[in-house]
Symmetry: C2
Subunit: 322 residues, 2 copies
Amino acid sequence: MKQHAFFGLVQAELAAVERELASVILSRVDLVTDIGGHLLRAGGKRLRPALFILCAKGGRPDPAGLVPVAAAIELIHMATLVHDDVIDNAATRRGMATANARWDNHVAVLAGDFLFAKAFALIAAHGAAGALKILTATICAICEGEISQAKDIFNPDQTEGDYLARIDNKTANFIAASCELGALAAGMPDADVRALRQYGYAIGMAFQITDDVLDITASSEQVGKPVGNDLRQGVLTLPVLYALRHSPRREELRQIVAARNMTDEQVRKGLAAVHATDAVEYCYRQASDYLASARRVLPASLPAPVHGALTDIADFVGLRKY
Amino acid sequence: MKQHAFFGLVQAELAAVERELASVILSRVDLVTDIGGHLLRAGGKRLRPALFILCAKGGRPDPAGLVPVAAAIELIHMATLVHDDVIDNAATRRGMATANARWDNHVAVLAGDFLFAKAFALIAAHGAAGALKILTATICAICEGEISQAKDIFNPDQTEGDYLARIDNKTANFIAASCELGALAAGMPDADVRALRQYGYAIGMAFQITDDVLDITASSEQVGKPVGNDLRQGVLTLPVLYALRHSPRREELRQIVAARNMTDEQVRKGLAAVHATDAVEYCYRQASDYLASARRVLPASLPAPVHGALTDIADFVGLRKY
C-alpha cells in the first residue's frame, strides 16, 4: 500500500483497517479467500477510510467503532471496483490482474457481492445504524451514476453537466460520505458535519477529474491500465467533452466516438485531437477550483494536525500523477 | 404474481410488499426505474417474504416492521437472480427477458447492486439490526455457494455431499433465514426460532432439489427457461450426479460433461442418460424426506392457521411442476 505523509496521523488506524480487511475476507470456501487475498494485495490508496478516520479525529470518536466502519467503507469501494472491472472487461488494475481476468466474470460478480455483504455485516456487528443509512444511499448513487454512464456511452452529445452529475454520483458522493461519517463519529456540530461533507465532495470531484485526465496523459505503467482506456470504452470524460467542443479536429473526434469499436489507431487519433486543445489545462483548472473550495470550507475549529492533513490531501489530489 | 391458497393468510401484507417494492425501485435515473419495473413485472412466487410473514404471524409481531423487512428479503432475492442471470448468460427467466438480455451485463450487474443497497437501506430505515446480521450472513453464504458451484462446473467427480453443501449455501440457508427472521419478529422462544429455521432449511433443500429436477423434466414453457439449462452450463445437479453413478450410459454422460461446450444433441443425450435411471424418483424421494422433516419440526404451539399454511407449503413444494 502506498503511504503518503498526510496519512501519518492515521497510520495506526489504517494498519488496523488492513488487519480487519484481511480477517473479513476469510471464508470456508478457499477460492473466496484466495480472491479476497488477491484483491487486498492489489492494494489501493485507502483514501476513503483515511479521510473517514482523519475527520473523526477532528473530535472525540469512540475508538472501537472507527476501524470496522473504515474497513466497511473500503470493502464497499473494493466491491464497486471489482464490479467495474467486470463491466469494463478490464484485464489489469493497479498493475495487477483483475478478478475477472484472473478467474472469470462469474466469480468476480460474486466476489463483489461477497464484499458488499461483508461490509454491511461489519456495520451490523457494530450497530452503526446511521452509517448504514448513509452508505446504502452512497451505493445507490454509485449505481445510478454508473448506469447513467452506461446509457451515455459513445454519446458525443452529452454535456459537461451530464459528466459532472455522473462523477458526483459515482465518486464525489462516496468521498463526501466518508468525511461526513467521520464528522458524525467525532460528534461534531451539524455545521461542521455539513462542511466536512462539502470538503469531501469537492475533493471527490477534483479526484475524479484528475483521474480522468490521467487516463489520457499517463502511461500504462503509471496508472496500471492502458492509456485511453475510457475513450476506447466510450466513457467520455471532461477532457474529451471539452475537445468535442473546442478541438480543431473535433469532427474527426466526433466520428471516432460515434462509430464505437475503436482500433488502437483511432484511440491514438482521438487522444491527439484532445491534446490539440488546452483540455488538460482546462481540467486541471476545474479540479483546482474544487480543491480551493475544499480548503475554504474546512472548519477553522479543527485541531491543527487534522486541518493540516486535510489541506495536504487537497494539495496532493491536484498534483498526483498516478 | 402467482398466488397460492396458503398465501391467503398473508395476502394483505404481500400486497403491501408489492407496493413497497414498486416505490423502492424509483430512481432519479429513468433507466434504473425502468430496469426495476421490468424485474418487478417478471414477478415470482414471493416465497421468502411470504414465509417470513407467515412465521411472524405465529406470534405477536410489530406490524409496522414486517413489510419493510419482507420487501428487503425479496430485494435481496431479486438482486441474486439478476446477478445469476449475468453469470449464466441467461436470456429468459420466468418467460421474460432477463436484465442482461434486455439491456446488457453492465447494467444488470449495477441493477443487482442497486437492489442490494436498497434492501439494506430499507432495513437501516427501520432499525432492524438483528435482521441485518442474519441477512448479510445469508448473502455471504449465497456467494460462497455460487462460487463453489463455479469451481465445480463440468466436474463429474463432485459428490452428492458437495451438491448438498452448495444448495444449503445458495438456497436453503436463505429460506431458513426468512423463517428465522419471522420467528424473531414474532418474539418466539429460542426453541421455536430454531425449529422454524430448521423448517425453512428443509423446505429450501426440497425446493432446490425439485427445481433441479424440473430443469431436466419440465418444458421451457413451464419453467420459462430452456430445458437442460443447468447441464449445458456445467452445473451438475442431484439427478445428474445420481446418473453419473447409476446410469447404464454413465460413461457417455461423463464424457459429455467433461468435454464442456455441449451441442443441443449432446444435451439431449445427456438428459436421456439421466432418464435411463430412476434419478427423478430418487430426487423426489430425497425432497420428500426433507419435507417430512419440515412438517415434523413445526412447533405444535403455532396458531392453527399458521401451522396449516406452513404444512400446505411443504405439500406444495413436493408437488410443484413449475
